[in-house]
Subunit: 197 residues, 4 copies
């Protein structure tokens, strides 16, 4: 089991995927023990680590990142939590293609992610799930249009708001301030091929 305090001890470079989004990505994609997952970009490696705990030693996480500094930061963080055997970090642009095949899920959290959608379609097994993470509404439209064009099923798009509560002897209430928005999540499935007659 992942000790979530570990995330507080890791170095942060680019914006990280926060726990609520990592949990809902894995949960709504159905990712679990033994799964083979591709993600880009690696960022600080937080989502890679979360997914590594989810898929375990029978699974695998392939994480693409073209920027050397982020790639190295992610590698450092993955090593710090001892997940090197599960996470394979690749200093490559996912826009140049995905080398893995028959994967269970692809997660795209990067600008212009719509350009990687055809690669994701090819890499996924039938029934595999593509997830997009986008801060802006306009990005979702481009992404879901690209998904449709590539042959994916209709996208399900959600946002998740987690609100902290204070439960106290003197009264219980939500915390006054908090995270109002991180990003929107899009989920779409690679359909099974119709058998030819």
């Amino acid at each position: 089991m992942l000790d979530l305090n570990i995330f507080d001890k890791l170095k942060r470079g680019p914006q990280v995927v926060v726990l609520k989004d990592a949990a809902v990505i894995a949960g709504f994609a159905g990712i679990g023990s033994g799964d083979k997952v591709v993600e880009a970009g690696s960022g600080s490696g937080f989502l890679s680590i979360y997914l590594a705990n989810a898929v375990g030693k029978d699974g695998k996480v392939y994480s693409y990142e073209w920027r050397e500094d982020f790639h190295k930061l992610a590698a450092k963080n993955v090593a710090k939590v001892g997940m090197e055997a599960i996470v394979e970090l690749k200093q490559k642009s996912i826009f140049d293609g995905i080398e893995e095949e028959n994967v269970d899920a692809v997660i795209l959290d990067l600008a212009d992610s719509e350009k990687a959608v055809p690669h994701a379609f090819n890499a996924l097994r039938e029934g595999g799930v593509l997830v997009g993470f986008h801060p802006n509404v306009e990005q979702i439209k481009k992404f879901t249009d690209a998904c449709k064009a590539a042959g994916f099923s209709e996208s399900k798009v959600i946002e998740t708001i987690v609100r902290d509560w204070l439960i106290r002897d003197r009264g219980s209430r939500p915390a006054n301030t908090g995270l109002m928005h991180t990003g929107f999540l899009s989920f779409t499935v690679k359909p099974a091929l119709k058998p030819m007659v």
Copy 2:
């Protein structure tokens, strides 16, 4: 990987744990591949099935339910998705004790859950996580008070709102109606024993 459409094909008896809550329970507790988890009550078995996918064949889910009808329904649903090897369903009241030891997480989703908190403390390994699911605010107070009394760390309490979005050529917006509330989630950790001098 879990095909989430499976949940639409299972029979529902009592109120089920919906996907957003299952995802956040697993995510915020850090539950992943290989973990040993106890939950009560079994209800329709939906959370058992979600957790079985999360912990995989190296993990184990023990699910307590004292009502025979729910126990049988959960058993039927778990069998339908082929998770019998991972989920052990027990027709027992968790208020009578937890038979497992050294478990990674205990999840309590039942009325009067505070009465099972001392049992959860005993069953958990050090660093293990107790999760409570409660529809009402007053229940959280009783639960977190019981957690404190039993020796657990301070509870983190959250609620999760997931909002569907419609992304369309004619315009993008949230869906007009949706699920405003299911329940509050409380997370607390069994602390490591301080070594005696």
Copy 3:
């Protein structure tokens, strides 16, 4: 004071502005007793009635609606609550211009509302507020761009979520389902003219 139950007794044609949005429109625009307000379209007349109660007999509401059926429905509803002296309903398209001058606020709740923005600028007094109500995100962009082009101040854009709570002896919690989205509200101010040297 307005008896809000009245809204349940009025006939509804097109989508009505719900109470939460009417309240926040008036509140965030600063509309109060004695104000002169222009709105379009009239729809079922619900917002006209809400505003009439807000501005009172010293104020005035001018409501534009080009569709005869909606215009007549709004007139019927306004008459039913006895607000004819305060609300002037006009069967005209606001795209053809606003006849009033020096008004305190203009509220646009209609498709292609960006086309009415220059008319709103001319009709408003300095310091007057333009409010746009839009279901879709893309509409806000067009609207706020038109506001900037017309000389308005930077827009403040918000959405309002109101959640019902059940407070009961057996426990207190939010209602399970509810209104997740109606529309986004944009507020912008006509700046005071800089005096020439």
Copy 4:
């Protein structure tokens, strides 16, 4: 019309009622031009000023505050915006009674507000509305129980979340952080007396 920027220029002592709550209090109570409203406590006078704009010169706002420092601060702020003719500030505890009669609305935003509920019932006209503002859930229960005991109709309880949006050429999204909670609002009506046979 109220220039809402005025609130930024006023001195703040105790926690102020923010605009979203002032708007929804007035809107859901149906407060408008010409109404007679009682509120307690005055705090910094922000709600008094908001209500004064709403009820206008034909209406009246009576504001109770027993603390001398808050009473003086509210008086200073009300004077600064030139609302002295509409707002009557009283340095009195509302727990000692409400001197006004036949008022349209009473708004209670103070600790132990349930103790003022019978006074509110007496002060209100039939059909008049009592509003309670409470940060904590437990307070709502005490308040709504007191309302029922005093003869009020069933309470409607809500919370309002307003989320800011950034609408930009480079993409549109909600602001990342914001106000998650201020307080819960309870609304209840003094029923009309049943005529005796």
